[in-house]
Amino acid sequence: MKRLVPYIALAVFASVPLWLHDPYLLNAFITTGILIVAAMSLNLLLGYTGQLSLGHVAFFGIGAYTSALVSLGFDVELIGGIRVVHEPWPVWTGFVIGTLVAALCGYAVGKLSFKVRGAYFVIVTISFAEVVRLVALNWVELTQGPLALTSIPPMTLGVPGVGYLDFYSKQSNYYLVLAVLVVSYIVIQRLVYSRVGRAMIALKENESLAVSVGIDVTRYLVLAAVFSAGIAGAAGSLYAHYLKIIDPDVFAFLYTVTMVIMVISGGKGTLAGPIVGGLIFGFIPVAARSFATPEIQWILYGLLMIIIVFVLPKGIVPAVEKWFAAPSTRADPEPLQAKMHDTP
């Protein structure tokens, strides 16, 4: 039964554009989906290695800007009068390069900051996000600064000579986001259930012990940071090509906080946690819109968050899993085998 849940969920979500035609709701699904991908990437670091990246939005924004700039082209003069001109490239290359650049930044930040962990890691990530935001705001020649990068082309996939697929409509963007979400889910699942994932979990649970069984701490933390940043960058790229406009506000701290809330409420360190948490907190404002003013919406948002943290401190997904796992089977999974070992 439990094995079927992801497939059922996928089937349900794949059917959404078939019966839901309200563009507002579809838009809410798409933006929530993008944030969920970002939250999943944060979960890889926060949930599986225990490192809190409070500047996670930096990777999201870097993916968004890189992808947009690759597909729009740019013409900038660097220090010393070196002129760099980039002709627009196909949009999918923007997506790939955006993902890679974000992953590279994840490598750099991880390499630099995992020597100092805990509170210092949090500070380094916040500072990193702030620096990147200031660059986006002030390097007007490249990023248009507060004027925003506009007319970003929509995602395009295709083979030269065969045909192209443009992601203009909301329906097609919905499926694009769903596809990226599924791929990210599989990548994270593969990673977490591999030797690498075991090492990450061991690190989170007891670091000195993990070192003593031969786990190379920095290597695995950096690896987690690279994958996490790359997936966040992919989400950022989707965001840029869906909205078709981005400004330095994509680096707002609020987005990081939203991702953290999604991960914590859904259940950090679980594959489904960020999805469940993301759907709930992505749709509260939508659901509340019909009966509450914006101020009341945010109060509801806050209240629900507090209630979840108090009532389900480990998050929704672990609580539900515990509920379904009958207590009798949990306490003594293999009573027969136990008895056999009892008599030496």
């Binding site: 075991r198 649970e205 007891n206 012990l209 070192v211 003593s212 786990i215 136990a338």
Partner: protein, 234 residues
Amino acid sequence: MLHINGLVCRYGKVEALKGVTLSIGQGQLVALIGANGAGKSTTLRAISGILPSAAGRITFDGHDITKCSAREILSKGIAHCPEGRRVFPDMTVDENLDMGAYLRTDRREIAADRERIFGMFPRLAERRHQVAGTLSGGEQQMLAIGRAIMSKPRLMMFDEPSLGLAPNIVEQVFSIIDSIRKSGTTVLMVEQNAYSALEMCDYAYLLETGSIVLSGSGKDLIDDEHVRSAYLGG
């Protein structure tokens, strides 16, 4: 087998080890005793490569391992059973044992070794699917020992194996350590429970504020006036 020469370790500006020199012979059980803060755990941490050493030389089987990483040292055959939180609390007993074999790739033998450990500790076999955090203190210590065995070490280091355990469990743990030594594995043990440690060891070192002040057979140390008054309670 293991030789340490003039080992110096620092935590910031504090010199925790001020030139420790000791050796362990093949198949021996060597005890390292001393008061809190004498540098016993630091010595083990330096040997296993968790803590970098500021000066001195550590050789294992003739190879210099002073600058090796924890991973390399483990793969050379030195396992470390750290004190305090000894297991991965959210992993099952099975998974904890597998973590001990993290650097090994011989799957079939790993499975065989796991069963062998369950033979040694029937209590663990009963609880193999239970998460380790729910085990009793004694069971957690057994699991920690089992996990160390899983790495197939030639030298096993125990840091305070009796800490926080009930007296009857302590005895059990010591007898397991003794049987590990009898099976041919060399053992280095740090213990506050000085009397038991001295009684069972082949050779012992006494650490005081970062230096070895006395060494000899376990019996020599038990008979020593200073050891008697300071560590054995008169």
